[in-house]
């Protein structure tokens, strides 16, 4: 879960985060950020320092001072505010110039949160509302348990461990099914369709079909 400052964020930011499949919560103060923090902690923060730089930077500083620091912090500044970044290196992990292009935002989020959001703890995979507990084999989506067969679970795990990366059917067969499979590459299609059915119609696009290539979890990473 990402924390976003201020509340409400710009429509562009909200849409970009939603489309990229991130869960997020907008707040207006550091107190609010602490009171609404999920038990697993914030996985990252996006702070707009362009509209109201003073409030924005104050929030960043407060966030960094907490006992439980937030792993990855992105700040938004406009072209005229680049100087604000100087001598504040320790406060943020990356910055994005506003107005931003959604693609750029997505790419930066992915690089930053790849290691944090994607693998919060070694035995958990948390991404885009999906939580896989690798120890207990349990999957949940948006807080509700997701009942999967073993092969559906293994396929989803493999895809979710590599969000944005496109895999061919052959790769998925050899990596997920190993040598103990029959049914050829169509087996992959059948299982993907089953996973989508279980995720529900409105989230079926969590697993993307990349025409005449294969499948990916979430938006395809450019150049991957």
């Amino acid at each position: 879960m990402l924390v976003v400052f201020p509340d409400p964020p710009t429509a562009d930011l909200a849409r970009t985060l939603d489309l990229a499949g991130y869960k997020w919560k907008a707040v207006n103060s550091i107190t609010e950020a602490s009171s609404s923090e999920p038990t697993a902690g914030w996985s990252g923060a996006i702070i707009a320092c362009d509209e109201d730089p003073e409030a924005g930077w104050a929030f960043v500083r407060a966030l960094r001072k907490r006992d439980t620091p937030v792993a990855a912090v992105i700040v938004l500044v406009n072209g005229a505010q680049l100087a604000d970044l100087e001598l504040r290196d320790e406060l943020f992990d990356d910055f994005i110039l506003s107005p931003f292009h959604p693609r750029e935002m997505e790419a930066r989020l992915r690089h930053l949160f790849w290691s944090t959001v994607g693998t919060t703890r070694a035995e958990m995979i948390e991404t885009s509302g999906l939580v896989l507990n690798l120890e207990t084999y349990q999957a949940s989506f948006e807080g509700k348990p997701l009942d999967l067969t073993y092969m559906e679970y293994e396929l989803l795990k493999f895809l979710a461990q590599n969000p944005g990366k496109v895999f061919t059917r052959e790769t998925l067969l050899s990596r997920v099914w190993g040598y103990e499979y029959y049914g050829g590459a169509r087996t992959v299609d059948v299982h993907i369709r089953r996973l989508r059915a279980k995720l529900g119609e409105e989230h079926a696009n969590l697993i993307q079909t990349v025409r005449s290539v294969g499948y990916s979890f979430g938006q395809v990473r450019r150049g991957a």
Binding site: T136, Y137, Q138, P145, D147, L148, T149, Y150, M151, E152, Y153, R169, E170, G178, E180, Y182, G183, G184, A185, R186, T187, V190, R193, R194, R196, A197, K198, G200
Partner: protein
């Protein structure tokens, strides 16, 4: 990997608080059988199977060797979404073995596995997508004509809403259980519905058809509605069929597709169709296994009567749907005679065996019958070499009895038991004096 799969099932039972695991398997007639075990027994069951008395199951053991082992197939473990989450229940399909662990020849799932293995040995995977029709009725009263929901009287609310909400809930449940639905709609007859499933490999699909029948009935029953797959419940109305869309794949390639053919049908597809057509009469007792099935296979209700094929003619036995241009994967054939009371494991087995026979013997495909066969005279039909499907269960059984193809596909055990059982069913029917006869003959003769 088997150990991991078992481990996965055991952990899921623990984590999800599953209280009861239902072991499912299918008797020779296609009736779902189930017995429940507690999670404590599951580990044992997964490793060694559960012993059960086969003599109480239709088509299973002879009395002297009555015990069999039900061994759960961990691939098929699913939590049942319609059961209260606080006392979750799960189901798992079983393969049936003899006590010495050899596969039991009376197990329909085993029969399908064997036929799929034979096709696989020749490089083919069998994919199936069924269109399943059924009716919703008021709870049946003995001796009375079934009462459709649509005709009002039974419900005070608008009945189409109830039927469509039942259908919606059914689809949601199927999808949650990993059975994707392609389309669904209200059919022509009152209270008749159709749900089309998305293709999978034939074994998963046979399991899915079994699950489908349970889900449709359970969800209707919860609203005091009776869902039925009976092939022809209403005289003078359309019956319920289970059209099967089928293709063979070789690896990633649709073996039925050939770009250069005017119909986009490959040689493999044409031989397969020729095999199905040549052996259609022999396999009909399996695909249409009740006395009532043959009341559906009559002219005038979009059910096939003649052994023929065509592209856009719905009166033929095999239809070749025209897929969107360039969609090689969607090239398929539709076999239109089966009805939803069939045992899917056995039906898929004999259909595959007939098609594969056509491929290995390189049968040639008869000419397309694109005229409406219902309107042709018998003389014209025989000129075209077009025969009819068996007209009754009795006729279908006698054609089946002389079929080595069906005997090999089913194995001796099921072949003999099925014929014996169904002949008894036919005798039971034949000895009845029906209202038709009383109306027609009592006064006038």
């Amino acid at each position: 990997m088997l150990d991991q799969k078992r481990d996965y099932v055991l952990r899921t039972v623990e984590e999800r608080g599953v209280r009861l695991v239902r072991l499912w398997f299918t008797d020779v007639l296609g009736t779902l059988k189930s017995f429940a075990i507690t999670p404590a027994e599951l580990e044992n069951a997964l490793a060694d199977g559960m012993t059960c008395d086969g003599s109480s199951i239709d088509g299973f053991s002879r009395v002297q060797e009555s015990d069999v082992l039900a061994i759960p197939d961990p691939n098929t473990f699913e939590v049942m979404p319609w059961v209260d989450a606080k006392a979750a229940e799960a189901r798992v399909f079983c393969d049936i073995h003899n006590l010495d662990s050899t596969p039991f020849e009376g197990d329909p799932r085993r029969v399908l596995r064997r036929n799929l293995d034979a096709a696989r040995a020749q490089g083919f995977e069998f994919l199936i997508a069924p269109d399943i029709e059924y009716f919703y009725f008021a709870p049946p009263v003995r001796g009375e004509t079934p009462q459709p929901l649509d005709e009002g009287g039974f419900f005070d609310l608008t009945t189409t809403d109830i039927a469509s909400s039942l259908r919606k809930e059914t689809i949601r449940t199927l999808e949650t259980m990993g059975i994707p639905v392609e389309y669904s709609f209200h059919e022509d007859a009152p209270s008749q519905h159709e749900i089309d499933l998305r293709h999978t490999d034939a074994l998963s699909m046979a399991d899915s058809v079994m699950t489908f029948r349970v889900v449709v009935k359970e969800i209707a029953a919860a609203r005091n509605v009776h869902a039925t797959f009976m092939p022809k419940p209403l005289e003078g109305m359309q019956g319920s069929g289970m059209h099967l869309h089928m293709s063979l794949f070789s690896g990633d390639q649709n073996a039925f597709y050939d770009e250069s053919d005017p119909y986009n049908l490959s040689k493999v597809a044409k031989h397969f169709m020729a095999g199905l057509l040549r052996h259609a009469a022999e396999i009909t007792a399996i695909t249409n296994q009740t006395v009532n099935s043959y009341k559906r296979l009559v002219p005038g209700f979009e059910a096939p009567v003649h052994i023929s094929w065509a592209r856009n003619n719905r009166s033929g036995l095999i239809r070749v749907p025209v897929p969107k241009k360039g969609n090689a994967n969607a090239t398929r054939i539709e076999y239109r005679s089966p009805d939803p009371t069939t045992n899917p494991y056995l039906a898929f087995s004999v259909i595959l065996a007939a098609g594969m026979k056509g491929i290995t013997e390189e049968y040639s495909l008869p000419i397309e019958a694109d005229a409406n066969l219902f309107e042709m005279t018998d003389a014209d039909l025989s000129k075209l070499g077009i025969a009819q499907l068996p007209q009754s269960l009795s006729e279908a059984l006698s054609v089946m009895e002389s079929s080595t193809l069906v005997k090999e596909a089913l194995g001796d055990h099921i072949f003999e038991w099925f014929l014996r059982n169904k002949k008894i069913e036919w005798r039971g029917y034949k000895t009845q004096v029906t209202p038709f006869e009383l109306d027609r003959y009592l006064r006038s003769m």
